[in-house]
């Protein structure tokens, strides 16, 4: 493989991993608060269509980014009302949310199908971005790639170092105790659900603004489910989530690349490889004893009804 081809592969890996990382980070925060939102796929695809539509009509991909986050958060609102205020079943509501998002985005996006989109440009820092090989990878990405990594660090800091994060973990671990101590379980969970929705929307927006700047119905193609799985396999730890998301992205892209070279490996095996490798890798890093239990939010998926 020559250097140009290697560079192309590495750059594609980054763009393939970023939407997963964004959506999974949001879900990680939601689940840390004890809420299981299976509607990630729906919120992502809404983010994708909203980002694409706004960028196309205004001509600004940055307004598109904002719109995608807002759209994801907006779709999370009915989920919050149903599961937090009306104590509906989280699993069923989340599944309905995905169906709603897929249908609604198809309806909204009907007139955008086939239209050329607005691409989120990559940054160019004179000098630094021109360094051979390293420059384009480290200093020449688009703004959402950097944002996703900054968010990973920020979420990690928030969860483990800040008081807000301590309250978030407390609510996810034992909502009855958190309530007894005087914390508003519902308010904390609302914040987490909205944050999760916004980040899922951003992840979707990345698909229609940077990964493949166009609108195709159902264009998330199951990435929301992969994000959900990554959260569990990373044991709700942001650091491992970054590893998991990039590993998944890398193996997917390498699979395509190998297929392109015409190596005699069945395509089905290659397309299942990212799942196998990601699961294997995350299982291996999670086997350290003792920690796994402590990092699993004990109240995950349980509805909270305060004392009378």
């Amino acid at each position: 493989m020559d250097q140009a081809a290697l560079l192309a592969v590495l750059l594609t890996i980054v763009t393939a991993s970023t939407p997963l990382l964004l959506a999974a980070l949001g879900e990680l925060v939601t689940e840390r608060a004890g809420v299981l939102n299976l509607g990630v796929e729906g919120m992502m695809v809404m983010g994708a269509v909203a980002g694409f539509a706004v960028a196309l009509t205004t001509g600004s991909p940055y307004l598109g980014i904002v719109a995608s986050a807002l759209a994801g958060a907006l779709l999370a609102v009915p989920f919050g009302v149903l599961t937090l205020n009306l104590v509906a079943n989280q699993v069923a509501t989340g599944l309905a949310l995905t169906l709603l998002g897929l249908g609604l985005s198809g309806l909204i996006g009907e007139r955008f199908v086939g239209q050329p989109g607005v691409r989120l440009t990559k940054l160019h820092i004179p000098g630094l971005s021109d360094i051979p090989f390293v420059g384009p990878i480290v200093f020449g990405q688009d703004v959402l790639v950097y944002l996703s990594l900054v968010l990973a660090v920020a979420v990690s800091w928030l969860i483990f170092r800040s008081r807000a994060g301590l309250i978030l973990r407390a609510v996810g671990d034992n909502h009855a105790s958190a309530h007894a101590l005087g914390y508003s379980v519902i308010r904390v969970r609302w914040a987490a659900v909205l944050f999760g929705g916004a980040l899922a929307g951003l992840g979707g927006g990345y698909l229609s603004l940077a990964y493949t700047p166009q609108w195709i119905e159902n264009m998330t193609a199951g990435r929301g489910w992969i994000a959900l799985a990554l959260v569990v396999f990373s044991s709700w730890l942001p650091g491992r989530l970054v590893i998991g998301a990039y590993l998944f992205g890398a193996v997917t892209i390498l699979g395509f690349f190998v297929q392109g070279l015409g190596v005699g490996v069945p395509a089905q095996l290659l397309s299942s490889l990212p799942y196998i490798v990601t699961i294997a890798a995350l299982v291996v890093i999670s086997t350290r004893r003792g920690r796994a239990r402590a990092d699993t939010p004990a109240c995950l998926g349980q509805p909270f009804v305060p004392d009378r």
């Binding site: 008081r163 105790s177 239990r293 004392d307």
Partner: protein, 540 residues
């Protein structure tokens, strides 16, 4: 017996506050649906007073206390703080007033560290390093040792309670509510706690003290309010009362003393543990080191010790929850079964009652009859249905009903979910379910934790009767009064080591305390143990 016996007299003072009292509850009524948990309850506490709140399980103590702490709102009645009418909207508001509470069912977060748990209850934590120092200072000051970096999930019941107490002390409360604080402490630790409470009281802090231990209430408390069926039945000066008269007020009837077995039968060996080793299964867990014991037919062997010294590990190894590779390490009725699981050991004639009744001893969301199915063979007896594995729920229902009647399990409907029972009632059910099988070996961990005096007497009597019928009974307990009431022999567990078993009539509280002291290390404990061995040549 002194003191006013009527609730009406106190209620007649009307709904106004008096500055003389720190906190007053007047005419408090709390209804849950049609059930009245508190019926015109009056309670008044002066600054610097240690005030006992007494009553059986289900008398309405917890409900009353939750209203003072703001986690429940009264249906009727007023609360006054320093003479002013107030509405305690939520626990945060209660903490603003200066009300701290140590919960009976701990309000801790298992996945978080000790420091994090404490930080959550304090509103002004700038940095956790400084908080860890404050925790260390307070815990040392009040004799409540804590490892601030430990995760709560890895800690024992006793250690968890210390976190709650330290957490309250750090809030510098004006009123401290303590729900059964000494249930899991050694006598020495309890003494230390009493000194702490007396010191707090002398500093002007009022204490509302809920306990089932009447001797302790007599010794510590300045006043006592007694609830029965949600009503105040008496306000007394506990120092003027006897434990028996207090118990009579609580229960409304006399509590029977345990009928002792006539003579100890030196029967065959029921349970033999031979140099059992068990590695620690977590960074804060205890390893069992060469534990040996012999339990014979007709005797009760009690294992005393401070929480977190290997009791739960020993229970897990005996019950088969954690089998060991060497099968000879545990033998039930002469059959080596160290490698076998719980069900196989049950088939050998053993029964087990774990410490946590909800989630371990019983499935919270299951009905009582379904919980019977879990530890009992309730498959149909005829060959056809037995082969297909159909469960005979009629038989399970009958067993649940029989246990409920025999052990006085009070419940709202015929076959309620386990979690809807109060702690004491569920404990009676879980113990009763195992005793109903007439086991040859019974291993029970903390048989009467959080259970009121009447129910505790019932459970202890059942254990004594089981031993009298020829079973071997192993009781793991932190309640020394209980141990001395029922045990034939006493052994002490400390840091995963088990002392030899000593005849109960030559053991004293002081000797047990010294052996327990091994938990805190040092030559003192070993010396104590040696002295004990010299003093008692009859140790097994």
């Amino acid at each position: 017996m002194s003191g006013s016996e009527t609730a009406g007299a106190a209620a007649a003072t009307g709904a106004t506050g008096t500055a003389e009292f720190l906190v007053e509850a007047r005419g408090i009524v709390k209804r849950f649906g049609t059930f009245t948990a508190n019926d015109h309850v009056d309670l008044a506490i002066r600054p610097g007073e240690i005030h006992a709140l007494l009553g059986e399980n289900g008398a309405g103590k917890s409900t009353l206390v939750k209203m003072l702490y703001g986690s429940l709102q009264p249906t009727a009645g007023r609360i006054f703080w320093k003479g002013e009418p107030v509405v305690v909207t939520d626990p945060g508001r209660a903490r603003d007033f200066g009300i701290g509470m140590v919960f009976q069912h701990f309000s801790l977060f298992e996945a978080l560290t000790v420091t994090e748990n404490i930080a959550l209850a304090l509103s002004n934590v700038a940095d956790t390093g400084a908080l860890a120092t404050r925790i260390a200072t307070v815990s040392k000051d009040y004799g409540l040792p804590l490892e601030s970096r430990a995760t709560v999930a890895d800690l024992s019941v006793g250690e968890r309670q210390r976190i709650e107490i330290v957490r309250c002390l750090l809030q510098e409360p004006k009123l401290l509510i303590m729900d059964e604080p000494t249930a899991v402490l050694t006598p020495q630790e309890a003494d230390q706690l009493f000194l702490t409470l007396e010191r707090l009281a002398s500093e002007g802090c009022a204490v509302l003290y809920i306990s089932h231990r009447l001797e302790e209430v007599k010794r510590l408390c300045h006043a006592a309010t007694i609830l029965r069926h949600g009503k105040v039945v008496a306000e007394v000066d506990p120092k003027q009362e006897t434990a028996a008269s207090l118990a009579r007020l609580m229960v409304g009837a006399d509590i029977h003393a345990i009928r002792p077995k006539h003579a100890r039968i030196a029967g065959p060996t029921r349970l033999l543990v031979d140099r059992l080793d068990l590695p620690a299964n977590g960074p804060f867990a205890v390893a069992l080191d060469q534990v040996s014991l012999e339990l014979r037919a007709g005797e009760i062997l009690a294992i005393a010790g401070v929480a977190g010294n290997g009791q739960s590990e020993l229970f897990d190894a005996l019950s088969g929850e954690r089998p060991v590779s060497r099968s000879g390490a545990v033998a039930i009725e002469g059959t080596a079964c160290g490698h076998l699981g719980v069900a196989a050991r049950r088939e050998l004639g053993a029964a087990f009652v774990p410490e946590e009744r909800l989630g371990h001893g019983a499935v919270p969301a299951f009905r009582l009859s379904e919980n019977v199915v879990l530890t009992r063979d309730t498959i149909f007896t005829d060959a056809m249905r037995r082969l297909l594995g159909f469960l005979d729920f009629a038989r399970a229902d009958a067993t649940a009903a029989r246990v409920s009647t025999a052990y006085d399990v009070r419940k709202g409907k015929p076959d309620p979910e386990a979690r809807s029972l109060s702690g004491g009632n569920l404990q009676k059910f879980v113990v009763g379910r195992e005793l109903d099988r007439k086991p040859q070996v019974l291993v029970v961990n903390q048989p009467t934790w959080g259970v009121d005096a009447g129910a505790a007497a019932l459970i202890r009597q059942a254990l004594v009767d089981l031993a009298a019928d020829g079973a071997g009974v192993l009781v793991i307990s932190q309640d020394l009064d209980e141990i001395f009431e029922i045990a034939d022999r006493v052994a002490v567990i400390s840091r995963g080591h088990l002392s030899p078993g000593y005849d109960a009539h030559v053991m004293t509280l002081e000797k047990v305390g010294l052996l327990m002291g091994g938990a805190h290390g040092g030559s003192e404990a070993i010396e104590g143990a040696l002295k004990l061995r010299e003093a008692d040549g009859r140790a097994y």
